[in-house]
């Protein structure tokens, strides 16, 4: 590519006229100002002309919730994407083979406990897990990390303790149930999952690219990819939030087994960040503690924006198996832990 730079002309002083490439930019670059200027103009003008007219209450509520989900998740997504890009660009693969046990069944619980140290919510964990897999970590172990880290990190546990004052067992229950679910799902995936179901993102640095360049390009690619799927999840969650009256779901609080299922489904629909879901659970006063525990365990592992992110990152064939598996195990374990502890 370098023999086509604009300086080429000086290399052939005999040539009577400048070659056709002289002073020309790449075709994309020529279009750039023509796309950029009208687009920004349209957005700024639209802000003044259109926004006073788009006032239907349902549309406004929907758009507020949609934008709120995106705005709230994007900092965590950026953090997760940066961490994932750093893992692939700066940490050599040999590091993981040294740190993690060789045998997959032993690696799963280790990765599970490693979830303790990543302070963030579920949006950060998907790109990090995919970065781990790209670096040769056993998929089952990376999946255990994916499930555990949003639920058991210190920030989330403190938030849970604040939301349930005087009920330390709720924190213990959440911690224990989340760890158990992550290990079980990791093992089941190791046992039953076939290679090919899971699309492992390959990320090999291109030749001649510096570490920083590959860090930046991995970060850009992952952010655009995961961000797009985050928007899909945000759209679905906002729509269900506005369309489905919550009173339908909440009228069944008195039936024990049904209330557990209903709160688990509610956790999937609401797609609340794992750092905030404890407060929402605490406000659902009509439900039993076990049902609230199910809400807290299912929420960080399965919700609409996560499903979209996982399907996008690991492939649809993976998501249709992994999501129901996680949901079932999470509900069963919460019932069991709730029965023992609460």
């Amino acid at each position: 590519m370098s023999d086509r730079t604009t300086l080429d002309w000086t290399a052939e002083p005999d040539s009577p006229v400048p070659p056709p490439t002289w002073g020309r930019r790449a075709p994309e670059a020529q279009v750039l100002p023509w796309v950029f200027v009208p687009l920004v103009g349209f957005l700024l003008l639209g802000n003044f002309l259109l926004s006073p007219h788009l006032t239907a209450p349902a549309l406004r509520t929907w758009s507020t919730i949609f934008v709120a989900i995106c705005v709230q998740a994007i900092p965590f997504l950026v953090f997760g994407v940066a961490l994932s890009a750093a893992i692939t660009a700066f940490v050599p693969p040999s590091f993981w083979t040294r740190v993690l046990p060789r045998r997959p069944y032993a690696a799963v619980p280790v990765a599970d406990v490693a979830g303790l140290v990543l302070p963030g919510c579920e949006c950060a964990s998907v790109p990090v897990a995919s970065g781990l897999m790209a670096r040769g970590v056993t998929p089952a172990a990376a999946l255990a990390f994916l499930l555990a880290s949003p639920a058991v990190n210190p920030v989330v546990l403190v938030a849970t303790a604040v939301a349930f004052p005087g009920q330390p067992l709720m924190v213990v229950g959440r911690f224990a149930a989340s760890l158990i679910v992550a290990v079980l799902v990791g093992w089941i995936w190791q046992l039953l999952g076939r290679p090919g179901r899971l699309r492992i993102p390959s990320r090999t640095a291109r030749e001649g690219e510096s570490r920083w360049a590959s860090f930046l390009s991995a970060m850009r690619h992952d952010f655009l990819h995961a961000g797009g799927f985050l928007v899909v999840g945000g759209l679905t969650a906002a729509t269900l939030n506005v369309v489905v009256p919550r009173s339908w779901l909440l009228s069944v609080g008195d039936i024990p087994w049904l209330s557990v299922l209903v709160l688990a489904v509610l956790a999937v629909i609401l797609s609340i960040c794992s750092e905030a879901d404890a407060f929402v659970a605490a406000s659902l006063t009509a439900f039993s503690p076990t049902a609230k525990l199910a809400f807290l365990v299912v929420g960080p592992m399965v919700d609409l924006k996560l499903i979209a992110l996982q399907a996008g990152t690991f492939g649809r064939a993976f998501a249709v198996r992994f999501v129901p598996l996680t949901f079932t195990v999470a509900v069963l374990v919460s019932v069991l832990v709730g029965w023992v502890l609460l």
């Binding site: 490439t21 670059a29 920004v40 994007i74 940066a82 930046l216 759209l235 909440l250 609340i272 406000s283």
Partner: protein, 248 residues
């Protein structure tokens, strides 16, 4: 969903998204309609990172030398494939468009009305401080509800209070709700705090008002299960501007 996103479009999307995030967080207080105030530094940092990545990409694209397609050959094609991003990235334009065209406002009466989640009630009565006798006490709606429901000192009895919120109509005649949404993390988890106002005509829905009045006592243990709002007999209602921080 359109063509695969080439490098320039990718950078453009990221620049716009970063710009939109900076617009709502660094350049204005619009972000308070969506998230808690403490979120601002995180949003500004994320906005700057995205914006910088986008601008960096645009600059690289702008300075890229011209390469005629004919001479690029097969090697160039694989390179080209690598440079194309995922199509789903186009969707990142949606929040940008929503932020600029709709500028979603704070949640109002529509959300407050359809959400009948029972309000969290304090599990044990708390002891609140004493209120001044000579002037109306200004307090958040949440504190008023807390004092009304479970205050061992019954500090609200015979005290004038001043509350700020927006109006939501009630199905029962002669009363309306003074409402404020409470956030835990973002607007998706907002739920309404409501106080029933008696004795003054209802303002239009979504009007922000400051209501002065006194609490109508209800014994805590006689409250029914489920959603119930404490009552207040109002003496004065004044229209106010929507506060910068619309949530509690």
């Amino acid at each position: 969903m359109g063509a695969p996103v080439n490098r320039m479009a990718q950078s453009l999307v990221m620049t716009l998204l970063g710009g939109a995030i900076l617009r709502v967080s660094a350049l204005s207080t619009i972000y308070l309609n969506y998230v808690k105030p403490g979120f601002r530094p995180l949003l500004i940092a994320a906005g700057l990172v995205i914006f910088a990545l986008g601008v960096l990409g645009l600059v690289q694209e702008w300075r890229k030398p011209y390469t005629p397609k004919a001479q690029a050959g097969t090697e160039h094609e694989s390179e080209e494939k690598h440079r194309h991003g995922p199509r789903v990235a186009w969707l990142l334009c949606l929040p940008v468009v929503a932020i600029f065209l709709i500028t979603p406002p704070a949640l109002g009466s529509f959300a407050a009305e359809r959400d009948d989640t029972p309000q969290p009630r304090p599990s044990a009565p708390e002891a609140y401080g004493v209120l001044a006798r000579d002037r109306p006490a200004v307090m958040p709606l949440g504190e008023f509800i807390g004092r009304a429901w479970g205050d061992a000192n019954r500090s609200l009895v015979d005290r004038q209070v001043k509350l700020t919120g927006f109006a939501v109509h009630s199905k029962q005649k002669g009363q309306w709700y003074l409402t404020r949404m409470q956030l835990r993390c973002c607007a998706a988890d907002a739920f309404p705090l409501k106080v029933t106002v008696l004795g003054v005509p209802a303002p239009r829905d979504d009007t922000w008002v400051e209501v002065t009045g006194t609490w109508v006592p209800t014994p805590y243990d006689q409250l029914p299960k489920g959603t119930v709002a404490p009552e207040m007999r109002a003496t004065a209602v004044a229209k106010v501007k929507q506060p910068d921080e619309p949530y509690e």
